[in-house]
C-alpha cells in the first residue's frame, strides 16, 4: 500500500459521509422551505394548517404506537428465536425460508396478508361455508382496524426476518456457543443463560439495525396504506396523500407534517435509548441476583416456535395466495380455490419483464457494489488509522434511514433538476446509493469491528502487510457478513420506489416502479405476478449470501452459522 493510497483510504469516511448527507440535507432544505412558506409567504401558516387538521392527534398516536409496538414485538420474537431454537429443525427451516422472506417487497407482504385475513380472504374462504356457515363474507373489521393491529402484524412479519439476518451475521463474533455451554454448566436455563451471556454482546452489534427498524416502522407508507387504519391514517400516509394533492396546495402542510414526523422519529429513538439503559440495569440486577430461570424455557419455547411459525405462515401463505391469484380466472367467495385458471396475466406482463429485470438488476448490482467498496474502505481506514467515528458522524450516516423519505425527496428532485442530473439510470443509481450505503454499512460495521484484532497482530508479527492482512485474512473470515451486506444492499436498491420515480423522471422503469403503479389499482392478479418476480432477484442474492459461506467454510467448524 503506497502512501498516496493510504491517504486516499484515510479520506474514505469523509467522502462517504458527504455522499450520504449531502443529498439528504439538500433535500430537507428544499422541503423545509415550503413548510415555513419560504419563497412565497414566509410564516407559520403551514403549521397552523397542520394543527387545524382534525385527525392530527390520532395520526400521531397511531404512528408512534404502531412503530413502537411492532419494533418491540419484532425484536422480542427475534431474540426468542435466537435464544431457544438454534439446533432445532424449526430453526434450520426458518433459516432456509429467511432469504425469500426478507427480500419480499413490503407492499407485496401487505397485500398477501390482507388477502389472508380479510373477511372475504383465504382463511375465511377455506372455512366457508362448511365450518362458518358464511355464504357471504361477514362484515368484520379485520383489516384497517382503528388500532392498527393489522399494520403491526404486517410490520412484525416483515421486520423479524431482517433482524434475524442481521443477528446471524453478527452472532459468530459473540462467541455464543461457548457462552451458552458455560451458562448451562452453571445451571442457567437456556433463555436466561443466553440473555445474560450472549445478548449484551449481540445487542451492541444490532443496535443500529433496530433503530432503522423503529424509524421505518414509524414512517412506512405502502404497508400502512394497505393494512393500516384509514380514519385517519398514520401520519406518514397522510403526508404522502397531501403530497399527492392535485391542487398542489397541500405542499406546505405536507412539509410541516414531514418535519413533525421527523421530530417524532427522533423522540422515539431517544425514548428507545432511555429504555435500553433501563433494560441494562434490569439485566445487571438479574445477573447479580443469580437468577437461573430454568423454568422459563418450557414457558417461552412454545412462544418462540409459535411466533416463528406465524411469521413464516403469514408471509408464506400470503405470497402463495398472490401467486395463485396471478394464474386465477374467476375466484369468488367462498371458493377456496379459483374456479378457473389462466395464464393471461403472465402473458400480458411478459413483454416488459425482461428489460425491466435487467435494468433493476444492473442498478442494484452497481449500487450495492459501490456501497460495499465504500463501506469496506471506511471500516478499513478506521482499523488501520485508529479512527473512531464520532457519534455525530454515525448519526449523519443513518440520516437517510431516519429522515422520512417524503421529507427530503421532493426537495432533492428540484435540486437534481437544477443541476440537470436526472432522468438516467446513472442518476437513479446515485440516489439509490444514498439509501443503500447506510444499510450496507449497518450490516457490515458491527461484525467488521468485532473481528478479533489479535489475528491481525499475529499476522503482522509474521511480516504481513496491512493489504495482505485485509485481503487474505480479514475479508475471507468476514465473507458471510460481507455477502449479507451486499445482498441487503441489492434488496434495498430493488425495493426503492419514490427515489426511482422522482429522480428517474419516470424514464427509468424498474420492477418496483411497475409493481407499485400496478398495486395502486389493487389488482391482485398482476400484483402477484410482479411480487413474485420482484422477490426472485433479491432472494437469489440472499440465498447466495447464505450458501456461499456454508460452501466455502464446510471444513471450518468455527465458521459455522449456528
Amino acid at each position: 500500500m503506497t502512501a498516496a493510497g493510504g491517504g486516499l483510504l484515510r479520506q474514505a469516511p469523509r467522502l462517504t459521509l458527504l455522499l450520504v448527507t449531502g443529498p439528504v440535507l439538500a433535500g430537507v432544505a428544499g422541503t423545509v422551505a415550503p413548510a415555513f412558506g419560504l419563497g412565497e409567504r414566509p410564516g407559520l401558516d403551514a403549521f397552523r394548517a397542520l394543527a387545524g387538521w382534525p385527525g392530527l392527534g390520532a395520526a400521531v398516536r397511531l404512528s408512534v404506537t404502531t412503530g413502537l409496538v411492532s419494533t418491540v414485538l419484532a425484536l422480542g420474537l427475534t431474540l426468542l428465536i435466537l435464544a431457544l431454537l438454534p439446533g432445532s429443525r424449526a430453526f434450520r427451516a426458518t433459516l432456509r425460508l429467511l432469504s425469500p422472506l426478507l427480500s419480499v417487497p413490503h407492499a407485496a407482504v401487505a397485500l398477501g396478508l390482507a388477502f389472508l385475513i380479510a373477511p372475504s380472504g383465504w382463511i375465511a374462504r377455506a372455512l366457508s361455508p362448511w365450518a362458518t356457515g358464511w355464504t357471504e363474507p361477514p362484515d368484520l373489521l379485520t383489516l384497517n382496524d382503528p388500532w392498527g393491529l393489522a399494520l403491526v402484524a404486517g410490520l412484525v412479519a416483515k421486520e423479524v426476518p431482517f433482524l434475524l439476518l442481521m443477528s446471524l451475521a453478527a452472532l459468530p463474533q459473540t462467541d455464543a456457543a461457548r457462552r451458552t455451554v458455560l451458562a448451562a454448566s452453571l445451571g442457567y436455563g437456556r433463555m436466561a443463560g443466553w440473555v445474560f451471556g450472549v445478548l449484551p454482546a449481540l445487542y451492541r452489534q444490532i443496535r443500529l439495525p433496530v433503530y432503522a427498524v423503529l424509524a421505518y416502522s414509524m414512517t412506512a407508507v405502502e404497508m400502512a396504506m394497505i393494512l393500516g387504519p384509514t380514519r385517519p391514517p398514520t401520519l406518514s400516509v397522510q403526508v404522502a396523500l397531501w403530497m399527492a394533492d392535485p391542487a398542489l396546495a397541500e405542499r406546505g402542510r405536507a412539509a410541516a407534517a414531514a418535519l413533525l414526523q421527523l421530530g417524532l422519529v427522533a423522540a422515539a429513538l431517544a425514548g428507545w435509548c432511555a429504555a435500553e439503559v433501563a433494560a441494562r440495569r434490569l439485566l445487571v440486577a438479574g445477573a447479580v441476583a443469580g437468577l437461573r430461570g430454568a423454568r422459563l424455557d418450557a414457558l417461552l419455547r412454545p412462544l418462540a416456535l409459535g411466533g416463528a411459525g406465524l411469521v413464516v405462515a403469514a408471509v408464506g401463505l400470503g405470497l402463495g395466495g398472490l401467486a395463485l391469484w396471478s394464474v386465477a380466472g374467476l375466484w369468488s367467495f367462498p371458493d377456496a380455490l379459483p374456479s378457473a385458471f389462466s395464464l393471461r396475466t403472465w402473458a400480458a406482463a411478459a413483454p416488459d419483464l425482461a428489460g425491466r429485470t435487467v435494468l433493476t438488476l444492473g442498478i442494484a448490482a452497481a449500487t450495492a457494489g459501490i456501497a460495499l467498496a465504500l463501506a469496506l474502505a471506511c471500516l478499513e481506514a478506521e482499523a488501520r488509522h485508529g479512527l473512531r467515528p464520532s457519534p455525530a458522524a454515525m448519526a449523519a450516516l443513518y440520516l437517510p434511514l431516519i429522515v422520512p423519505q417524503v421529507a427530503f425527496l421532493p426537495g432533492l428532485q428540484v435540486a437534481a433538476l437544477g443541476l440537470g442530473l436526472d432522468g438516467s439510470a446513472v442518476a437513479v443509481a446515485a440516489v439509490h446509493l444514498v439509501f443503500v450505503l447506510p444499510y450496507v454499512f449497518l450490516s457490515l460495521s458491527a461484525p467488521y469491528r468485532a473481528w478479533d484484532g489479535r489475528i491481525a497482530t499475529a499476522a503482522a508479527t509474521l511480516g504481513a502487510t496491512p493489504g495482505r492482512i485485509f485481503w487474505r485474512l480479514r475479508l475471507p473470515m468476514l465473507l458471510r457478513p460481507v455477502l449479507t451486506a451486499l445482498a441487503v444492499g441489492a434488496a434495498v436498491s430493488v425495493g426503492q420506489y419514490l427515489p426511482t420515480l422522482l429522480i428517474g423522471g419516470g424514464r427509468v422503469a424498474t420492477l418496483t416502479t411497475e409493481a407499485v403503479a400496478l398495486a395502486s389499482g389493487g389488482n391482485r392478479r398482476i400484483v402477484g405476478t410482479y411480487a413474485l418476480l420482484q422477490m426472485v432477484l433479491p432472494a437469489a442474492g440472499f440465498a447466495l449470501a447464505l450458501m456461499l459461506p456454508a460452501l466455502a467454510f464446510r471444513h471450518r467448524r468455527g465458521m459455522a452459522a449456528a
Binding site: P54, D139, N144, P146, L248, L501, G505, G506, A517, N523
Partner: protein
C-alpha cells in the same frame, strides 16, 4: 383595409376548414417522425396499459412515432414533475410530453401556466368530436378547456350489482338509502378525497339539491351550509349501516371493484359504464353482474390528454393526441373486451365505414345502451369537490 378584411376572412375560413391546416399538420407529422413520446398516464390497470401499448404500435406503424407510457401511481406525480421543472428553470426538454389528465389536475396546471399553447382544436380529427352532444369534452369541471387538452374518452358514473343476489336495484337516492338500511354492511364508497368517492358525494348532492344549477358556479361560503345540508343528512342516515359501519373505507375505484368481486359489497359503482362487462370478459367478475343508473342521470366527464409547456417532443405528442381521436382507435377503446370506454366522437359525423365499426361492437352483457344510460350530468365546479371532501374528512374521516 380591404386587404385586412380579406385576410381575416381567409383566416376564419382556414379555421373552419380542416383542409386549411393540412400544410401545418404535414409539418407536425414530419417533425414528429422519429420522436419518442413519453406519455405519463396512471398505470394501475393492465387493460389500459395494454391499450396504450397498442396505440404505440399504431403510432410507430402509421407515423414513425415511438410511444412510451410512463406508468404513474398518481397523476399528480406528473403534475409535480412539471412544476419542479418550472421551478428549476427548465423551460425546454422536459420529461413529460403528454399527460392523461382532467379535473383538478388540469385546473392546477392551467392556473400555474404549466401547459403548452392551445392545440386540441387544430388536430385533424377534432372535426369528429361531439362538441354539441357531449359538452364535457370542452368543459372540464366547469373549466373551459380552451384547446389546452384534447379529449380521448367519456366516462359516466354507473352502479354495479350482482343480479344473482339482488333482483331490483334501487334507482333513486331515497331507495338506495332504504336499501342500505335494510342490508347493513353491503354498501360503501371510496374514502374522500379520492376521486370516485368525492364523485359519489357530488352525485348525492346533485340529486338532493333544490337547485343543482348553483353547483356550476364556485362555492359561495354564504350559501354552502344550506345547499349541502341534505347531503350530510343523507350520509348521517346511511353511515351506521355502511360496510364496516363506516369505520373503514376502500381507498379507490379498483379497491371498491375488488370488494364487489369478493362479495363484500352488493352494490358498487365505477366511472366507466363498460368496466363491469370488461371485468366479466377478463374473468374478474361474476357474469351475473349488471349495471344501472339513477333516475335523473349520473355525473359524466371526459378524460383528456394535455401537453406541458416544456415538452421535449411536442409534435409527437400532438400526433398521439390526434391518433387517440381516430375513429378506429376510439372504436377499439369502446370494445368491452379491450377497455369499454365511451367514445368522444359524434357517430353521425363519421364516414359510413367508421360508423359501422361502432355499431358492430358487442357492448357486453353488463353495459347499458346509450338510451338506458340516461343523461350525463355536468361536473360541478372544482371548488365543490375540495370543499365537500374537506368537510367529509371533518365529519366522517376521523374516528369519533
Amino acid at each position: 383595409m380591404i386587404g385586412r378584411i380579406v385576410a381575416s376572412a381567409l383566416a376564419c375560413l382556414a379555421a373552419l376548414a380542416p383542409a386549411g391546416w393540412a400544410g401545418d399538420w404535414d409539418a407536425v407529422l414530419a417533425e414528429a417522425r422519429g420522436q419518442t413520446v413519453y406519455w405519463h398516464a396512471w398505470g394501475g390497470d393492465p387493460k389500459i396499459n395494454a391499450f396504450i401499448d397498442w396505440v404505440g404500435e399504431q403510432a410507430e406503424a402509421r407515423h414513425g412515432v415511438t410511444l412510451q407510457q410512463v406508468k404513474l401511481a398518481d397523476t399528480t406525480d406528473a403534475v409535480a414533475r412539471v412544476l419542479a421543472e418550472k421551478q428549476a428553470g427548465r423551460t425546454e426538454g422536459g420529461a413529460v410530453d403528454l399527460i392523461w389528465i382532467n379535473g383538478e389536475n388540469f385546473a392546477a396546471m392551467k392556473a400555474r401556466g404549466l401547459l403548452s399553447a392551445p392545440f386540441a382544436e387544430s388536430l385533424p380529427n377534432w372535426r369528429f368530436v361531439h362538441v354539441t352532444g357531449k359538452p364535457a369534452v370542452v368543459t372540464d369541471f366547469t373549466e373551459p378547456t380552451g384547446g389546452l387538452e384534447s379529449p380521448w374518452a367519456m366516462a359516466q358514473l354507473v352502479f354495479e350489482y350482482d343480479s344473482a343476489r339482488l333482483a331490483g336495484p334501487p334507482r333513486t337516492l331515497d331507495a338506495l338509502l332504504d336499501w342500505i338500511r335494510a342490508n347493513p354492511g353491503r354498501f360503501t364508497y371510496p374514502q374522500p378525497p379520492d376521486y370516485l368517492g368525492t364523485t359519489f358525494l357530488k352525485q348525492v348532492l346533485i340529486g338532493l339539491a333544490e337547485d343543482p344549477a348553483v353547483l356550476q358556479k364556485p362555492v359561495d361560503p354564504a350559501s354552502y351550509d344550506r345547499i349541502t345540508a341534505p347531503l350530510w343528512q343523507w350520509l348521517d342516515a346511511a353511515t351506521p349501516h355502511l360496510w364496516r359501519e363506516g369505520r373503514a373505507y376502500p381507498a379507490n375505484e379498483p379497491a371498491l371493484g375488488q370488494l364487489l368481486a369478493d362479495g363484500e359489497v352488493a352494490i358498487a359503482f365505477a366511472f366507466n359504464p363498460g368496466r363491469a362487462s370488461a371485468a366479466i370478459a377478463a374473468g374478474e367478475l361474476a357474469d351475473s353482474v349488471r349495471t344501472f343508473v339513477l333516475e335523473g342521470g349520473t355525473i359524466g366527464n371526459a378524460s383528456f390528454v394535455a401537453i406541458p409547456f416544456n415538452a421535449a417532443h411536442e409534435a409527437g405528442a400532438k400526433v398521439i393526441a390526434n391518433l387517440l381521436l381516430d375513429p378506429g382507435v376510439q372504436a377499439r377503446a369502446q370494445d368491452p373486451a379491450v377497455l369499454g370506454f365511451q367514445t368522444v366522437l359524434d357517430l353521425d359525423a363519421l364516414p359510413e365505414a367508421d360508423r359501422a365499426r361502432f355499431q358492430a361492437l358487442d357492448l357486453g352483457v353488463a353495459t347499458l345502451g346509450p338510451a338506458e344510460l340516461g343523461p350525463a350530468l355536468l361536473e360541478p365546479h372544482a371548488s365543490w369537490m375540495d370543499r365537500i371532501a374537506e368537510d367529509w374528512t371533518r365529519r366522517y374521516g376521523t374516528a369519533r
